[in-house]
Symmetry: D2
Subunit: 349 residues, 4 copies
Amino acid sequence: MNDHPAVSLSFRSDNVAPVAPEIMRALEAANHGLAASYGDDEYSALLNRKFSDLFETEVTVFPVSTGTAANALSLATCARPYGAIYCHEDAHINTSEGGATEAFSGGAKLIALAGAHDKLEPATLAAALRRADRGVTNRSQPDAVSIAQASELGTVYALEEIAAIGAIARDAGIRFHMDGARLANALAALGCSASEMTWRRGVDILSFGATKNGAMGTDAIVVFDRELVEPLSYRLRRAGQTWSKMRFAAAQLIAYVENGLFLRLASRANELASRLGRELAAIPDVRLIAPVEANLAFVAMPEPAIEALAAAGVRFARRSSGVIRLVTRFDGTPAEVDQFVALVRRVMG
Amino acid sequence: MNDHPAVSLSFRSDNVAPVAPEIMRALEAANHGLAASYGDDEYSALLNRKFSDLFETEVTVFPVSTGTAANALSLATCARPYGAIYCHEDAHINTSEGGATEAFSGGAKLIALAGAHDKLEPATLAAALRRADRGVTNRSQPDAVSIAQASELGTVYALEEIAAIGAIARDAGIRFHMDGARLANALAALGCSASEMTWRRGVDILSFGATKNGAMGTDAIVVFDRELVEPLSYRLRRAGQTWSKMRFAAAQLIAYVENGLFLRLASRANELASRLGRELAAIPDVRLIAPVEANLAFVAMPEPAIEALAAAGVRFARRSSGVIRLVTRFDGTPAEVDQFVALVRRVMG
Amino acid sequence: MNDHPAVSLSFRSDNVAPVAPEIMRALEAANHGLAASYGDDEYSALLNRKFSDLFETEVTVFPVSTGTAANALSLATCARPYGAIYCHEDAHINTSEGGATEAFSGGAKLIALAGAHDKLEPATLAAALRRADRGVTNRSQPDAVSIAQASELGTVYALEEIAAIGAIARDAGIRFHMDGARLANALAALGCSASEMTWRRGVDILSFGATKNGAMGTDAIVVFDRELVEPLSYRLRRAGQTWSKMRFAAAQLIAYVENGLFLRLASRANELASRLGRELAAIPDVRLIAPVEANLAFVAMPEPAIEALAAAGVRFARRSSGVIRLVTRFDGTPAEVDQFVALVRRVMG
Amino acid sequence: MNDHPAVSLSFRSDNVAPVAPEIMRALEAANHGLAASYGDDEYSALLNRKFSDLFETEVTVFPVSTGTAANALSLATCARPYGAIYCHEDAHINTSEGGATEAFSGGAKLIALAGAHDKLEPATLAAALRRADRGVTNRSQPDAVSIAQASELGTVYALEEIAAIGAIARDAGIRFHMDGARLANALAALGCSASEMTWRRGVDILSFGATKNGAMGTDAIVVFDRELVEPLSYRLRRAGQTWSKMRFAAAQLIAYVENGLFLRLASRANELASRLGRELAAIPDVRLIAPVEANLAFVAMPEPAIEALAAAGVRFARRSSGVIRLVTRFDGTPAEVDQFVALVRRVMG
């Protein structure tokens, strides 16, 4: 019951991958005896300790079923209904969550800003905040900024870029949210610690992705700003995002970070993307439209070549005309990459 | 890492149970190869077929992470923001979901009605609908009725009761939602088919519980009224209730109903509750406050006895003064029941 | 263009009345020259001073177009989306505003409580608060209590009743809202000062009715708790409740309270209702179903008599079978009351 | 009590104006006898007839207290919570209503599009609709387009431009909303009939402005698409936008259109703006940043000159650096315009 023939190549999404074996074993191990429900269990307590260790500060972790839930409920907790949330115009929260943030917040406004390679630029944010008309009752009032690390385009913010945004947010008195659907890929790319990339740069609340990188069906919200914990706990419950058998979400997330598993998985995917990008860029008339820094490559090539790749059974997503998105996964192999590159060479030939 | 000592007895909740072995094996079996995401996979297609077979009609199944999500999103799809939803005053949607239905619907109103043993009585519903002031713009307008089968008190609606409510709903032009957090227990109690207890009695949309009865962390919405499918699919996605790796939710639900597993699991729990109720009722000064029809027993006894049971390490929930709730589980044993009954006899002695 | 024939009697509503002449003159007087918009004008400044004098404390006044807006936006500012608001089950906010409070608050829950003569009883409120399960994330959390002074049934809370509710609210850490759609009638009935009936008894925010008692089309929110001013100002603007030509709303409200006009108007209406109640109660088989304390009388009489009154062209509202509501107005006359009483005598004869 | 000294000049806003004498007289005339409440009165019936005559089709008119209410409630009725609403990026609904549309709709998304002179270009709309990913559940789904006639910049859509947008909307199966806060100014500018500029070009629902052009405090929603009438009537009532003494809103609107008053008032304002624009454009180093087509002129001039004008006591709004907004009113005079132009000449001298 596998919807991809064994011989085919897929760079469609990191969501098509199975569960990492370590995480599946953790689920099995957690499946003994009784455990208190709704997060009052020992796994959930351990989860908070493990993540507090990982982030080198006391954090509260709320497992949720999807990244959309993580983003929208984080931001709804940061923003008043009449608040404004600043983000890149191509941010997932702005384009691909069906208005989830607007809905959960009661009508907060996303202020969508331009920026090269899907990254919000500090100067652009600062300028937008200067135009915000604070205290003017018919204007949505600044409450939060959200960036995606890694971005939708697979680019990664440098630590100083995050720090610059964090400083602007702090000066403006607004909260700083990081959409880390691919956090592990960004961490692996930067080679820094989890704390260096988040709260030490001003991040208040984090959507911590796991499903794209080996978990079964749980992401998490990691809360650094303790004022957000209580209101978020109510919002999650009424959003139907508080599992009764929470131990199984906690067990996945514990295994995910244990012994650096998440970084190893992400590194594998990143390396495949890097190989892919390097090889494709060397082919005449094939062009990367953004630097390959995580596990995504956006590639421009002639439409007939794209058609030929699709006809050959390769799975990938199209973007605008002449551009495709390629996603590498923790369970991918260099051989697949090489096979694909050879195919591209052939169709471009 | 088990928060209940092996020697202790727990009748705290059906949510403290582990995952049924058959379902865990199905998760393992699904963990091979790639699968399309967000429900476009073969498991999800099979899920729809399996449930269509089970319900003897074509249904659409949407796995969700919790019963609160199932209830609130079902009802938000049935009700206009200015709509009214009729339910029992003790319904979970009214007392224990933090206003989820009001929030997801944009302010629809729950009209809470009294009724013996937590069951909504057809005559009470009919009378409430007659008072509804249709067309009067400052009154919330009738849109749906919701009943819980089994109820919060562990009672079960007879088929003719469901039919009577269904007929009233049809005549009133409102939708009929069933909260089946413990649907399997009700089915096992009535010994009828899934179709007889739902759409054949007028149910339009069903919260199909699985987690309390052996699944890991997925319930589902089963849609009979096809008009609800499209709007619900958008509402689920923006609520963060559409898993990317949907195959694992589908696999749980397929295994849950395969070869009647869910009914066997529920029957075990029901039998334990029945044994518990019968034995406790025979103890002087111990009284059941409602008939034991599913896997719940609500028991009145003197406060000192309740204290003594708690002191002995037994886990259970308190209700109003002098009343406790006992929940039996698919993984419980007659020996545990007998051990508990003996303990009650001792503390009452 | 008068939809009531000159000869007919109307006790239908206080909303059918015209504008008091003093208020119409104030509108004319305000209609000269330019004035800043959205409340930055001198009339609005004067309004705040006049009301601060009236209430003997510094208040902020926000004119709004209706009582529903006043109630729902006041309560939405007091309650978190996952909050609970306690009120009488027959409160206007619970029965006659189409779910406005639920909608504007993002899903806060009205906890409807029983109480004689449409008045919330302190002991009932206290008991409900004890059952509130604070800190339990699936329960709506106590945030506010709302009472209507006068009530929907035309009864009036004594000062000590208001004080008792205020004390409970303060101890519970929740806000106290008063729906004063007929505040002037209650003040006239009690003969106390505006401060004695409101903030000195714990009221934090007040829906101040004016339209039913002589204004053209403006009520107001009077804010005693200064923390509510800023969030309310944003909520009002985005609700479309901030008039650009605010001077005309302010002018109405200034005239309404100037030299005690509002109390004189309300006293007239109250006296008519009192006369009506006294005379009707003396007729055999006619019965008041609540004490007549403001400008409303609810009267039980045989259905054939009700039919005969309606057939005679008298305007009134029906309630449950055999009960009618009679409303007196500032522009009514004793002669009308006497004419109606004579008619009732005749149809009862 | 006039907040502008008699000698000063104000081009601050059309909202600083008084009520047109004809409208004030209509209010006085309506203030006799009793009238049914909440729109069941004869004035409201007449209002519907008058506007049906004006628009040469049967319309339903809902008076509301502000343009924000008109826009947000119109759009909330057109869009599903997961819907998308297309508009110009500088539209009032997008920049100056505090997220009202997002809030009332339950989270619909405004898709903000660029366009010269604050006008939405048909080709831009068509391209955006092509990118809309219909049927993809994580994308907000096209439901409506909204244009402002006249625009925020005082420009006016030609009839063929409106028709082009209407045709695109019809083909896309989405509703077409017109924000007519300054509808009369646009009508006066085009010299066409009300029907030619609205439903005959595809407009389904119209925010009909009156307050900026001589009314006291009422705008209206004019509904052409009859399917929208019923849901809108409920939404308005629960939004607190249904006046009890509706006759006074209806009376204003009747007088406003009677004998073409609204067009005469708007023509006066337009002529003043035209004179202002023509004269200012002739001054060296003063530049209009958009054609002056209604009653607004946006003027670029050196900052020191702007400072000097402000220091001289002239009232106006600043936009971006070096740009001011000048608004003319129905009650303005050519002498004021000339006085201002002379002043500009002096400060530019």
